[in-house]
């Protein structure tokens, strides 16, 4: 049996939809229950539902063999995982955004508020821009509005939240989509099961793409 960690929240429905298309079904009763670990109808897969940032943790430790999680989370976690498949779900980007009417910052130091401190530090570091990273855990858009930061690095899907807070994207750092990740040991030790899953899911991804 393969244990698959799914990111709860925004990605969960898209991931389950894709799995269903791949012929891996989870019953509605099981989903409606509050259990955090459930099996699919064939009993060949066990799903655990965890916070997005915890998906790489479970998979890296081999508690889950596989996981479905956004590339944004993977970049931030820097986990040592295999990522054999781009699932094409939850397409969005990690971007730098600032107030549309930017205030001049003469301090020689950029203050960046973000939930992605590693990604932000790597991005500005590669350009030699000195930054102070201010790590927040939510409502990052508020930081420039209230003067905590000059700009933010955040996930942008439609850009609506940014706009409503008077912010605009300055530049895109990278694209992000949902990825299938696999533990290194499971990839070898459960090679047949893992490659079957990859095969099924890549077919489902191609079908989704053809439909869109």
């Amino acid at each position: 049996m393969l244990t698959i960690a799914l990111a709860k929240g925004r990605m969960q429905d898209a991931a389950l939809g894709l799995l269903k298309r791949a012929g891996i079904r989870v019953s509605d009763e099981a989903l409606a229950s509050r259990r955090l670990a459930i099996e699919d109808e064939s009993g060949r897969y066990r799903f655990i539902f965890v916070k997005p940032a915890d998906v790489p943790v479970y998979v890296e430790h081999g508690i889950a063999d596989c996981g479905v999680v956004g590339r944004d989370v993977l970049l931030e976690a820097g986990a040592d995982l295999l990522q054999p498949l781009d699932l094409g779900i939850n397409r969005c980007r990690i971007a730098v955004a600032a107030l549309s009417e930017a205030r001049k910052n003469d301090s020689g130091m950029l203050h960046v508020a973000t939930k992605y401190p590693r990604v932000a530090a790597a991005h500005f570091g590669a350009r030699g821009v000195p930054v102070e990273i201010i790590e927040l855990s939510g409502s990052v858009e508020l930081a420039p509005v209230l003067g905590l930061a000059d700009c933010i690095v955040d996930l942008v899907e439609t850009g609506r939240t940014l706009k409503e807070n008077g912010l605009a994207v300055v530049e895109t750092i990278t694209e992000s989509t949902g990825r299938l990740v696999v533990n290194r040991a499971s990839y070898q030790l459960k090679a047949a099961e893992v490659s079957e899953l990859i095969e099924k899911l890549s077919k489902a991804v191609a079908e989704e793409r053809a439909k869109a």
Binding site: P84, L85, D86, V182, Q188, S195
Partner: protein, 374 residues
């Protein structure tokens, strides 16, 4: 800031009781296999010049070591690896000895910075062997055969898998695509994480992309038995890749004739540690362990750092990972002396008790003195 003395530094731990006994038994079992193949035990300095490890392991790996300065200002490190030191000894202390040299060791290594999140330990005990001065496929097979015996001896037959690759396969592909250093490293990372989607984008951006139709998608999937080599041959045009595939095929032939092909897998997408190894690379996985428990390969360039270039091959096993794994299962039955029940020794006079104790000990009995606790 006030830190209680009871606190233990991150990545450090104690072993005691059944786990400590198991760990000792595993170490003994592995070392006795090495001894059975005539590998001589060597103990290397725990503290050595940082420059040794930087040369031996490469900057990125050596950088993870605990470092400090000697009284003359030179930088020292708590050994993050044993192989560098063994290679130096081979080129210097053992320069005159007949080749090949066979060494084994059980030694703790220390790393201040973890490589991955799951790798929380900063001290781990390596059980390793090095075969120096032999460059043939036979030498490669010798260490693989020892690895197999060790795993079987630990009761892991049927639940381990050893993946094989040869660095020439990837280096040949990098040549084929005419990649510079940075691009080569980027492609290596993408193959290492099997990131087919990003790899496809990367190869599309390469100048010589037109010659490599279908290469990207399949590079990350070159995993399997003998047929993998055939598949790879169809994709790879460079002479370098072809030579590496030939070497693997020869090795695979021996593995098949030993009836071990179930336990082995060819994994041409295993491209970690390419700067260190020069030929065969292999990794050891065991069911129940979320990360590999060991690995090794051929490092023909290492001893050249110490003034004598000669072929070498070896591997290490992570004793702590093995102990964790075996403590959870119960496959491993350490042989040798069974655990004796202790006889309590008490006496009316102190001297009498010790007389009795010494007599029993001389007979090889296990005793426990009836010393009163305070």
């Amino acid at each position: 800031m006030f830190e209680p003395l009871s606190k233990i530094p991150g990545g450090m731990r104690y072993y005691f009781g059944a786990e400590a006994r198991l760990r000792r038994a595993v170490e003994n079992a592995v070392m006795s296999v090495f001894d059975g193949w005539s590998y001589e035990e060597i103990a290397t300095p725990s503290v050595d010049y940082y420059a040794l490890f930087e040369r031996g392991m490469g900057h990125a790996e050596a950088h993870r070591a605990f470092r400090f300065t000697d009284t003359d200002g030179r930088m020292l490190a708590l050994r993050p690896d044993v192989t560098s030191s063994v290679a130096r000894a081979a080129a210097t202390l053992f320069a005159e000895r007949t080749r090949p040299l066979r060494f084994c060791y059980a030694a703790s290594v220390f790393r201040q910075l973890p490589r991955t999140h799951a790798e929380w330990r900063r001290q781990s005990r390596q059980l390793g062997c090095e075969l120096i001065g032999a460059g043939s496929g036979e030498a490669d097979m010798e260490v693989l055969a020892m690895a197999v015996e060790v795993l079987e001896r630990l009761g892991l037959a049927g639940v381990y898998r050893i993946t094989l690759n040869c660095v020439g396969v990837f280096n040949g592909v990098a040549e084929q695509l005419a990649l510079d250093g940075a691009a080569r490293e980027r492609m290596r990372q993408l193959i290492d994480t099997r990131d087919a989607a990003e790899l496809e984008r990367f190869i599309e951006g390469c100048a010589s992309a037109n010659t490599t139709d279908g290469l990207a998608a399949r590079l990350t999937r070159l995993t399997g038995k003998r047929e993998t080599l055939e598949e790879a041959r169809a994709l790879m045009t460079s002479a370098r890749s072809a030579a590496a595939l030939d070497a693997l095929e020869k090795l695979w032939g021996v593995i098949e004739s030993l009836g071990l092909s179930e336990a082995f897998e060819i994994d041409l997408a295993d491209v970690s540690g390419l700067d260190y190894y020069t030929g065969l690379v292999f990794k050891i996985y065991v069911a129940g362990a979320g990360a590999r428990v060991g690995g090794g390969g051929r490092y023909d360039e290492l001893t050249a750092n110490f003034g004598r270039r000669e072929p070498a091959v070896g591997f290490v096993l992570d004793l702590d990972a093995l102990t964790d794994l075996l403590a959870r299962g119960n496959n491993f039955e350490p042989d040798g002396v069974p655990q004796l029940q202790a006889a309590m020794v008490e006496g009316s006079s102190e001297a009498g008790a010790f007389q009795d104790a010494r007599r029993r000990r001389a007979r090889g009995e296990k005793i426990r003195l009836g010393t009163r606790a305070e």
